[in-house]
Symmetry: C2
Amino acid sequence: MINIAVLGYGTVGSGVVEVIDKNNEAIDMKSGDKIRIKYVLDLRDFPGDRVESVLVHDFDVILNDPEVKIVVEVMGGVEPAYTFVRKSLLAGKSVCTSNKELVAAHGPELIRIARENSINFLFEASVGGAIPVIRPINSSLTADRILEIKGILNGTTNYILTQMDVEGWDFDKALRTAQDLGYAERNPEADIEGYDACRKIAILSSLAFGHNVNYENIYTEGISKITATDIRYAKKMKSAIKLLASCTYEDGKYYAMVAPFIVRSSHPLYSVSGVYNAIFVRGSQIGDVMFYGSGAGKLPTACAVVADIVDAAKHLDKHIYTFWSEENLQLTGTENATRKFFVRVKKDRASCEKLIKDTFGDVKFIELDDVSGEFGFVTTPVTEGSFNEKLKNIPDVCQSIRLESRI
Amino acid sequence: MINIAVLGYGTVGSGVVEVIDKNNEAIDMKSGDKIRIKYVLDLRDFPGDRVESVLVHDFDVILNDPEVKIVVEVMGGVEPAYTFVRKSLLAGKSVCTSNKELVAAHGPELIRIARENSINFLFEASVGGAIPVIRPINSSLTADRILEIKGILNGTTNYILTQMDVEGWDFDKALRTAQDLGYAERNPEADIEGYDACRKIAILSSLAFGHNVNYENIYTEGISKITATDIRYAKKMKSAIKLLASCTYEDGKYYAMVAPFIVRSSHPLYSVSGVYNAIFVRGSQIGDVMFYGSGAGKLPTACAVVADIVDAAKHLDKHIYTFWSEENLQLTGTENATRKFFVRVKKDRASCEKLIKDTFGDVKFIELDDVSGEFGFVTTPVTEGSFNEKLKNIPDVCQSIRLESRI
């Protein structure tokens, strides 16, 4: 029998209990031992609930019980999660977590403590919900050098952009609908401004490149300035607008960014719609690999946590090596990244076509049939720094969006 | 130092040597020890080649060398691979293989021998080339009950169908081009008749459902009867024709099949084109998950083999539990599976519309603008058995293709 403790009986925590109760036979067989929930920690009481008899309010009960071998942290937020997880690991208990804030802020230290104690700190559920991506990066793509990791990592923003595309809604209506359906929080900032995706790409790129990518150093731009008209231009270009989080290795430099991109229909990420997530990995020898699935939700996330519990149970005294050193990866400023840009200008095209060509060279103009008084154009590949300088020459620019393209 | 032996210096074998040579620093770090190729077994000589000094022609040299801890079988075919692999495992050497014929024919027995000897039999590269799918099914989706596994598992046929779709080519021209580009063998039967995909879905569904799925019991139909006109009808239905290999659990029954299907543009498998592979998994709680990437190729496949070597090196005396019992999974006959069908009739529509409606009920007719003397229709959901009976009533049927659809 392997005793576990679940910290937090919220959405994910109750999902973990439900999945273990429902699939206990298969889970015990795959763990090689019986998994028993000895404690659930929550400040609240749950009279009449299945967890009533195992509920505790004091973390020290769990910390001081040597029978507890695995601690499942599903509270979210950095504190008190960090303190509880650190103490658990130092006490020789493996930890499984779904907490991206915690992993992005303290991942490499917690992995080191786990390694020093021959136990495990596992966090598959912190990125991409049920999509297996952390473990594949750690153990399936080990033979190759990863050149790029790029994903749609936030289901809320992808739902909003999909609805704007499919229904023609403006941003506000799409956001309100997402809130009504429970896909977006009442305070949606973390999602729509890209902060959630930023923490997730920091985790993935740290694993892909082996060194710590500090999420605070990642240039992050959200989707709140994307309009229905932008999306119509994208459609005309046989493309869609997606919030992409990426980290790329090129010519000895690492670039990381979260921003809306125009993605062509031939790219595998183009058809990832609604609340789905996808993570695209490019290796020097394996080529392109993509992982796709539900990026959030109570039971998908809970299943990812429980898979980590099974793995922790199978490796009680053996550390599963994770390559994420505490040393920071040096990111290069985005101004050096080269790409194409789409630009919208609120003017008559004839009046500034020459100026645009003189400034940007061989651009491609795009106009929407039933929208007058404005036009769009796509540049040739240019560095972000140079683009921003050149754009100052063009009057009445109302929008610019990056193009996802391998140059 | 961990000594390994590579059996077979063909495409994959030379790729394995190349990947280990090129990435040796990272591979050694991830393995926790130095990986050294002590032997390469091949009947041929390779004078001047990097492997000349480690080349042996006699398998017993490898078998009888207690220093060899990991045997890499990349010869292909059932024999002598089976004999060599079995002897290696019985001698306490872990085995990594890319050989789908071997795994489909003898997987559960070889896994059992590995388990009994606390070593490993790993075969990530046998399905989907570089796409991590075996390991995720084994260790990431463990908390859920898998309901369906469905994939585009053969790059050759997917390339042919994609070219027929994009270029409008007929089957023969697409096949010849695939052969010229090296995507198809001179004798393409194993690919185009679905036998390759059949072995791969047998492996995946055995892992997904825990019991042995005998590939000989899987209904298998290839793509050689698909025409350019069929694809034009599919396009008109906003769909594409894909060779799908699947195993589904429904109402207590298991269905397995390899056959061309009409796949709607909203399905994640629709946009998998060219030589790419994708594996779609549906779980009762995780929902839909998909894995996508290069399904073949020397270096992608070699990287998958090397990732298994790293895993075997990290688990030299610890069996990684794989759920694939020797007991056969009872498959239900495809005649009981319910789905929609597309049918083409070489007749004037008016002359048999009533007969079709009387036979199949509320069908949907489809006609191509510039093709006369024939038409198509799509049935409502019907069992395969009932469909085949009813179809006998309709004269001049020239084609019928299944629709991928969740009913």
